[in-house]
C-alpha cells in the first residue's frame, strides 16, 4: 500500500509539473496586451515599455515560463498586475470559500443522490423508480448556471428567504452555512441526478450477480443484501466517476461563484481572465488543477479501499 501511494504521488507530481508548464505558456495565448489594459489607452509608449520590462514581459516566453516554475517551487506565484499584491495571498483568501462550496455540494450530492439510486434500484420499474428517473434526468440536463440563477431568483429574490449574495464570514458558521446553502444546492443538483442514475444502474447490475443469489440462498436479510452486500460493490464505479467529476464540479463553481458573487477561486479566475491578469489567472487555475489532481488521488485511494481485488493486483 505504501508503495502504491508513493507511486501515485510521483505520478501526481509529474501531472502537476506538466500542468504548470502548460498553464504558464497558455497564459500568453490570451489575446490583448495586459500592460495596455493596466495603464489605460492613453499611456505613453515609454511608460508601457518600462512596465513591461519591470514585469519581465520582455523576456522570451520560455524564460518567462521557467521563471514562473522556479518561482512556484519557492512558493511564489508572482504578483498581481493590478494591485501588485502577491497572487498567493489572493488565492489563500479565495480558496477556503471554494473548498467549502465543493465539499458542501459534493456532500449533498452523495447524501441525496446515492439513497435515491438505492431506492430506485430496490424496486425497479415501480412508479417511484420511474418518477425518480424522470427527476434525475431533468436535473442532469439543467446547466449549473441556469439552476443557480433560478434558485437565486426564487429563494433569495422572489421569496426573500435567505440572502445569498457574497459568502459571509467564517467567524459566523451558521450565517456562513446559510449563505452556502443556495450555491451548494445549485452546484449539487446535476450531481444528485447523475449519482442517482449511476448508483441505480450499477446496483441493478450487481443485484443480478451470482454472489447476491448466494446471499439470498443463505437467508441473508434483504436489507443486508441491498445496503451492504450489493451497495459496497455498486459504489466502486461511483467513486471512480466522482474523482473525475471533481473537475466538472470546479468548472461549475466558476458560474456559481460569479452568480452568487462569492469571492472564491472561480470568481478569481473569471475576474483575472477578463482583466488579462496573467499571474492571478494562472496561479488560480494552477490551484484548481491541484485540487483536481488531489481529488483524483483521494478517489483512487477510496477505490482501493472499496475493492480489495485492486489492492492485491498492485502489490
Amino acid at each position: 500500500m505504501a508503495y502504491y501511494i508513493f507511486k501515485r504521488l510521483v505520478m501526481a507530481l509529474v501531472v502537476m509539473l506538466l500542468a504548470t508548464v502548460l498553464l504558464a505558456s497558455l497564459a500568453h495565448l490570451i489575446p490583448g496586451d495586459p500592460v495596455k489594459l493596466m495603464l489605460g489607452p492613453r499611456a505613453s509608449e515609454e511608460m508601457s515599455a518600462r512596465v513591461r520590462t519591470e514585469m519581465g514581459l520582455d523576456d522570451p516566453i520560455p524564460v518567462q515560463v521557467a521563471n514562473f516554475v522556479i518561482g512556484l517551487l519557492q512558493g511564489d506565484l508572482g504578483r498581481d498586475f493590478a494591485t501588485r499584491s502577491p497572487v498567493s495571498n489572493m488565492i489563500s483568501a479565495a480558496l477556503p470559500h471554494t473548498v467549502a462550496l465543493a465539499v458542501a455540494s459534493l456532500g449533498m450530492a452523495v447524501l441525496i443522490g446515492i439513497p435515491l439510486g438505492v431506492i430506485s434500484a430496490a424496486r425497479p420499474s415501480s412508479w417511484l423508480d420511474r418518477t425518480l428517473g424522470f427527476l434525475s434526468v431533468s436535473l442532469i440536463t439543467v446547466p449549473t448556471y441556469v439552476s443557480a440563477l433560478l434558485l437565486l431568483l426564487l429563494f433569495a429574490v422572489g421569496l426573500n428567504l435567505i440572502s445569498s449574495i457574497g459568502a459571509g464570514d467564517f467567524s459566523d458558521p451558521v450565517g456562513y452555512g446559510k449563505q452556502l446553502l443556495l450555491p451548494a444546492t445549485a452546484l449539487a443538483l446535476t450531481w444528485i441526478g447523475y449519482l442517482a442514475r449511476l448508483v441505480r444502474t450499477s446496483l441493478l447490475e450487481i443485484l443480478n450477480q451470482n454472489y447476491i443469489r448466494t446471499a439470498r440462498a443463505y437467508g441473508l436479510r434483504e436489507r443486508t443484501i441491498l445496503f451492504t452486500y450489493a451497495l459496497k460493490n455498486a459504489l466502486i464505479p461511483t467513486v471512480a466517476v466522482l474523482g473525475v467529476g471533481m473537475g466538472n464540479l470546479l468548472g461549475g463553481a466558476v458560474f456559481v461563484e460569479v452568480i452568487f458573487t462569492r469571492p472564491g477561486l472561480g470568481s478569481l479566475i473569471y475576474r483575472s481572465i477578463t482583466q488579462r491578469n496573467y499571474p492571478a489567472a494562472r496561479g488560480a487555475i494552477l490551484v484548481a488543477a491541484f485540487l483536481f489532481v488531489l481529488a483524483n488521488l483521494i478517489a483512487d485511494m477510496s477505490y482501493r479501499y472499496l475493492d480489495p481485488r485492486i489492492r492485491t493486483w498492485e502489490s
Binding site: 505520478m11 451470482n210 440462498a217 443463505y218 443486508t224 475493492d307 481485488r309
Partner: protein, 688 residues
C-alpha cells in the same frame, strides 16, 4: 414420511415478453436421508430451475404454478417469507457452479461466513469467539490450510478449487439436512473436480446430509450419485438407481445421451449424436417432447404426452413403456445404425509409410514480461517473466491427431497461439513443412500461415457479432486476397460442416452453440488448410451436440486429409479422438506418446494423477480405481518450483528432483517422459 425432500408434480413458468415459458412440468422426485440424487440433463432442461424453485429463489419473472415441495414434512410452498428465509442456508443449503462469481468480492471470507450465521441467530450464543472458532473449524474440515490466518482474506486471494471449498464450508456450517449442489465441479479442472467429488463424498457422512446433485456431466453423476433423474425439456424423463441408468437406460433420450459421450473405448466409432435440438419452451410439441429427435417414435408419441410409468422412484416417461400400449421396449439406441467406421485403417496406412512431419516445434519458449508503468521503469524494477511455454519440442506428422492435455494454466493455449504466430516466440523454432516460421519474410509467412488455422475455444466470441455468417465465411479470402476461382462458396462451406444454406444471412447470436461452433470450423476451412488447431472443441456444448461436432471433425479429417492439434483438459475426449498425446505441465511437455502408451502405461506421475482423476461414466468404476488425488493446485508460472516442474505436487519426489528438471527420455519407441523414476511409476509403486 421417510424422505428428506419430496417434490410432487412441480410446474414452473417464466413470464417473458414472448409469452409464458413452461420451464418445468410435473417434476416429481424424492431424496431419502443420506442419499445423493443426481439431476442430469443438457442445458435448458430445467435442472437449475428445480434447484431455485425448491427454496423459492426463482427470478422475479418465475412462478411455481403447481405442485408440492415437502421438506421434512413441511410444505415449503405454503411457508411464509420469514420462515422460508430462515430455512435457507440452515436446513437447505446450496453450492453453485462458479465459486469465483458466487462469493462476494469485497468482503472477507470470514465475514461472509459470519454474516450467514448472524442472519439466522438473533443473538449469538457463545459470543464472537465461539463463532470464530466454528468458522475456522468448518474451513479446516473442507481442506483450507491455515484457516486461522486465511479467514480474513478476500475470495480472490484463494484459488478456484479453494473457493469452491469455501462455498462448501458455507453450506455445511449449519449442518443442513439437504445440500443442493448445482454443477459444483463444472468450472474446475479434472484434478480439482476429483478433489471436490471426494470431499463431498466424505462430508456427506461427516455431516449426515442428503444431497441433490445437479450436473450435465455423466461421469461425475456416475461417480457420486445413488439415484439419478434424467431431465429433458422441463420433465423428468427417466428415474432409477445409478447402476440401472448407466447399464440399462430405458428412455431413448437417456440411451442417446450415454452413447454420445466420447470415451477411449469407442475410439474410431462414430458417436451417437442426437439429431435436431431441444424444442423451444415457447413452442413445445403437443405430444412427447423428445419425439422430433427420437429414433423409435410411434404415431401416438406425436399425439399425446406420455405419463410417467413406474413407481418408487424408478420409471420412464415414454409411451414404449406404457403397459396399455404394449410396445416392444427392448430397443437400444446404440444398436441403431452406428456405422463403426474404421479410423484405424487410416492409422494403419499411417504406420506403414511413416508420413512426413508436417509441423515441428523445436525448443520453443514463450515468455511474457509484466508491464511496468512509468514510475516502475524509472525505479528500474526488475521485470518478472512468466514462462508460459518453456522449451517445448513436438513433432506432428501429416494426417495425425495430436491431443495436448493439461490443467488450465499449463500453457496449452499459449503454445497453440505461438505456433499460429499470434504470440511472438521468445526462443526456438516452428518448422512447418521444414520452413522455420519464426524467421521467414512476411509474405511467405502469410502464405504458410494460411495453411494453419485455428478453431477457437468459445463458439461465439470467435465470431464478430456484427457480421453475417456469409461475410464471416468470406473474410479470410479478402484478407488473403484469394482469387475467386480458388474460393469455396458460402454454400459449399456450410454444407461441408453440415449446416443448411439458410444460415448464411444470420448473425452469430441467432445461432445455437452447435451451429456457431460449426461456423467456426467452416471459417477455419476456408483457406484449404492442412493443419487445424482446435482449442477445447467441445467446450460450451452439450454432450449430444459435442458428439456431432466430434463426428464432423473426424469426417473432415478423412475427407480433406487434415492434421489436428486438439487442445483440451478432457481426457475422455483425448482418448477418443487422438492418435498421440502430449501431456503438458507448467509450460513443459512431461510425457508424450501414442494414446495407448499414455493411457495404458503412463510413466509420469502427473499423467498418472490426471488419468486417475477422470470421472468415468460408469458407476462400477467408483471406489475400484484407486483415486490418486493430485494434491493442491498448479503453481503460478510466475513462480515455478525449482528443479522438476512437478516437484511441488509429486508424491514420490526425491532430493534430486529439487535440483534439476529431468529431460525427456525415450523409454520405448515413440514414448517420451520427463521423470527419473518412470519405472517406479509404471510398476505402480507410487507412494501414497
Amino acid at each position: 414420511m421417510d424422505s428428506v425432500l419430496q417434490v410432487q408434480g412441480l410446474d414452473v413458468v417464466y413470464h417473458s415478453h414472448a409469452g409464458p415459458l413452461k420451464a418445468l412440468h410435473d417434476v416429481t422426485f424424492e431424496v431419502k436421508p443420506g442419499e445423493i440424487v443426481g439431476l442430469v440433463g443438457e442445458s435448458g432442461c430445467g435442472k437449475s430451475t428445480v434447484a431455485s424453485a425448491l427454496l423459492q429463489l426463482l427470478p422475479p419473472n418465475g412462478e411455481v404454478t403447481a405442485g408440492e415441495v415437502t421438506f421434512r414434512g413441511k410444505n415449503l410452498r405454503t411457508l411464509d417469507a420469514r420462515s422460508l428465509r430462515r430455512m435457507r442456508g440452515t436446513e437447505i443449503a446450496m453450492i453453485f457452479q462458479d465459486p469465483t462469481t458466487s462469493l462476494n468480492p469485497v468482503f472477507t471470507v470470514g465475514r461472509q461466513l459470519r454474516d450467514i450465521r448472524l442472519a439466522h441467530a438473533g443473538s449469538l450464543q457463545g459470543g464472537q469467539q465461539d463463532l470464530h472458532r466454528q468458522i475456522v473449524e468448518v474451513l479446516e474440515r473442507v481442506g483450507i490450510p491455515d484457516a486461522e490466518e486465511r479467514i480474513d482474506q478476500f475470495p480472490h486471494e484463494f484459488s478456484g478449487g479453494m473457493r469452491q471449498r469455501i462455498m462448501i464450508a458455507m453450506a455445511l456450517m449449519s449442518k443442513p439436512g439437504l445440500l443442493i449442489a448445482d454443477e459444483p465441479t463444472s468450472s474446475l479442472d479434472v484434478t480439482l473436480e476429483a478433489q471436490i467429488i471426494e470431499l463431498i463424498r466424505r462430508l456427506r457422512y461427516e455431516y449426515d446430509t442428503s444431497l441433490l446433485f445437479i450436473s450435465h456431466d455423466l461421469g461425475v453423476i456416475a461417480q457420486l450419485c445413488d439415484r439419478v433423474a434424467v431431465m429433458y425439456a422441463g420433465r423428468v424423463v427417466e428415474q432409477d438407481d445409478v447402476f440401472s441408468i448407466f447399464e440399462h437406460p430405458r428412455h431413448p433420450y437417456t440411451q442417446a445421451l450415454l452413447a454420445s459421450v466420447p470415451l477411449r473405448r469407442n475410439r474410431g466409432q462414430r458417436l451417437m449424436a442426437v439429431p435436431g435440438r431441444v424444442p423451444s419452451l415457447l413452442d413445445l410439441p403437443r405430444g412427447c417432447k423428445f419425439v422430433a429427435r427420437c429414433s423409435f417414435a410411434h404415431p401416438v408419441c406425436e399425439q399425446r404426452e406420455p405419463g410417467f410409468f413406474g413407481t418408487n422412484g424408478r420409471g420412464v416417461r415414454c409411451h414404449m413403456y406404457d403397459p396399455a400400449l404394449a410396445y416392444d421396449a427392448s430397443f437400444n439406441v446404440s444398436a441403431v445404425s452406428r456405422p463403426s467406421e474404421d479410423k484405424d485403417h487410416r492409422l494403419a496406412t499411417l504406420g506403414a509409410e511413416e508420413p512426413p512431419v508436417l509441423l515441428e516445434v523445436r525448443d520453443l519458449s514463450t515468455h511474457f514480461s509484466e508491464d511496468r508503468n512509468l514510475v516502475e521503469c524509472l525505479l528500474r524494477r526488475p521485470i518478472q517473466a512468466v514462462r508460459a511455454v518453456n522449451n517445448v519440442s513436438l513433432k506432428i506428422r501429416r494426417g495425425e491427431t495430436l491431443g495436448l492435455v493439461g490443467e488450465s494454466g499449463c500453457g496449452k493455449t499459449t503454445l497453440a497461439r505461438t505456433v499460429l504466430g499470434l504470440l511472438p516466440a521468445t526462443a526456438g523454432q516452428i518448422l512447418y513443412n521444414g520452413r522455420d516460421m519464426t524467421s521467414i519474410p512476411g509474405a511467405e509467412f502469410r502464405r504458410l500461415r494460411s495453411r494453419i488455422q485455428m478453431i477457437f475455444q468459445d463458439p461465439y466470441s470467435g465470431l464478430s457479432p456484427r457480421l453475417t455468417v456469409s461475410y464471416l465465411l468470406t473474410e479470410p479470402y479478402i484478407i488473403h486476397r484469394v482469387p475467386q476461382a480458388e474460393r469455396y462458396t458460402v454454400g459449399e462451406l456450410l454444407s461441408m460442416v453440415g449446416l443448411s444454406e439458410e444460415l448464411a444471412n444470420k448473425y452469430p447470436h441467432e445461432l445455437s452453440g452447435g451451429q456457431a461452433r460449426r461456423v467456426g470450423v467452416a471459417r477455419a476451412l476456408c483457406l484449404h488448410p492442412d493443419f487445424l488447431i482446435a482449442d477445447e472443441p467441445t467446450s460450451g456444448l452439450d454432450v449430444s451436440v459435442a458428439a456431432s461436432v466430434l463426428n464432423l471433425l473426424k469426417d473432415l479429417a478423412d475427407r480433406l486429409d487434415l492434421t489436428y492439434l486438439i487442445i483440451t483438459h478432457n481426457l475422455n475426449l483425448v482418448g477418443y479422438v487422438a492418435d498421440r498425446v502430449a501431456v503438458m505441465y507448467l509450460g513443459r511437455i512431461v510425457e508424450l506418446g501414442t494414446t495407448d502408451q499414455i493411457f495404458d502405461s503412463p510413466a509420469h506421475p502427473y499423467t498418472m494423477a490426471l488419468l486417475s482423476a477422470v470421472s468415468e461414466p460408469d458407476p462400477h468404476q467408483r471406489g475400484e480405481t484407486r483415486r490418486l488425488l493430485l494434491k493442491g493446485e498448479i503453481p503460478s508460472a510466475k513462480n515455478p518450483p525449482l528443479g522438476c516442474c512437478f516437484v511441488s505436487r509429486c508424491t514420490q519426489r526425491r532430493d534430486e528432483c529439487h535440483a534439476t528438471m529431468p529431460g525427456l527420455q525415450e523409454i520405448e519407441p515413440g514414448h517420451l517422459v520427463a521423470c527419473r523414476d518412470w519405472e517406479d511409476v509404471q510398476r505402480g509403486s507410487l507412494i501414497e
